[in-house]
């Protein structure tokens, strides 16, 4: 009786979610571990880099972007591009203040 005719509706194996969760835990351990290394200015950059990797895993697998219509990926990229413009314009101002 289910709407199984819907081809877009990909049923993801449980193991995929469990593997993604394990990868997220490993990345969490890594980000905590590297925080004990004195990296001065690259500390924040490293933290953001690892967090970006983690959020890509969440977006692609838990939030089904990998399995859904490409339109959602396009929407997300447009939002991220707009956000990048905000950041760029903000630092174009604050970055050059005395």
């Amino acid at each position: 009786m289910g709407m199984l005719k819907d081809k877009d509706h990909h049923i993801v194996p449980y193991s995929v979610y469990i593997n993604v969760w394990l990868a997220l835990l490993v990345l969490t351990v890594i980000t905590v571990a590297v925080s004990y290394v004195d990296m001065r200015h690259v500390a924040v950059l490293t933290a953001v880099f690892i967090a970006t990797g983690k959020s890509m895993l969440v977006l692609l697998y838990f939030m089904h972007i990998r399995f859904g219509k490409p339109m959602y990926m396009v929407m997300i990229l447009v939002v991220l591009a707009a956000y990048a413009v905000f950041i760029g314009l903000t630092f174009f101002d604050y970055g050059f203040r005395a």
């Binding site: 009786m1 289910g2 709407m3 819907d6 877009d8 509706h9 049923i11 993801v12 449980y14 979610y17 469990i18 993604v20 969760w21 997220l24 835990l25 969490t28 980000t31 905590v32 925080s35 200015h41 500390a43 924040v44 933290a47 953001v48 690892i50 967090a51 983690k54 959020s55 969440v58 977006l59 697998y61 838990f62 939030m63 089904h64 959602y72 929407m75 997300i76 939002v79 956000y83 905000f86 950041i87 903000t90 630092f91 604050y94 970055g95």
Partner: protein, 208 residues
């Protein structure tokens, strides 16, 4: 062709899961920009008061932050599994996983409450006298800390209420194998709450 219409017995229902999903994503984008502007404020002040931010970060409890990260990541797993279970028609398993997510959301809030209590006893609290004598950059750091983790905690509470509501719908069979979109959208919201924490945790707890 993803809408499901049923005209049985003169009863006509229009249901469009794809539209619901697009609407949910548009809402999530407004959430991204809400937290996004706060992250930009964080970035600007970090740039101006880097050493104060690092000193402030040193005051936060890494272990509690990491514990909450693991709790939220696991709650995201049980959320994803509950949707997977319902898609396979396994209602009981779906409800078990959802109660797991709910339990983890309470655990997260409990850890947060313990943390804030510790900070309170150390005189670090919005408008505290001790906070006023700290270097300006540290005041900004703790101001952003309470604003951003507070706003995030509010989202956890809202998410928990929505999950409870979704559990009711699943239990009563209103949300089922052929109609999972409400649960999927609940999941999207919950994963976004997790995403925000993925950035909050290292930027506040790990930058010293």
């Amino acid at each position: 062709m993803s809408q499901v219409s049923s005209a049985a017995g003169g009863h006509h229902e229009h249901h469009d899961p794809e539209a619901n999903k697009i609407g949910m994503w548009l809402f999530l984008f407004t959430e991204v920009l809400l937290f996004g502007t706060l992250f930009i404020a964080y970035a600007v002040y970090l740039n101006w008061h880097r050493w104060d931010f690092m000193a402030g970060s040193h005051e936060l409890d890494k272990l509690m932050g990491a514990t909450n990260t693991v709790i939220l990541l696991t709650s995201s797993l049980t959320m994803a599994l509950s949707i997977g279970a319902l898609e396979r028609g396994k209602k009981a398993l779906s409800l078990i996983m959802l109660s797991g997510t709910l339990l983890f959301s309470f655990a997260f809030l409990c850890v947060k409450a313990v943390e804030w209590t510790h900070k309170y006893h150390h005189g670090i609290w919005p408008d505290a006298e001790h906070l006023g004598v700290l270097p300006y950059g540290q005041q900004l750091f703790f101001g952003l800390y309470f604003t951003m983790t507070g706003l995030h905690a509010a989202h956890v509470i809202i998410g928990a209420v929505v999950i409870l509501f979704a559990m009711g719908l699943v239990a009563r069979g209103k949300v089922h194998q052929g109609r999972v979109d409400f649960l999927e959208n609940t999941g999207l919201y919950w994963h976004l709450v997790d995403l925000v924490w993925i950035f909050l945790f290292p930027l506040f707890y790990l930058i010293h």
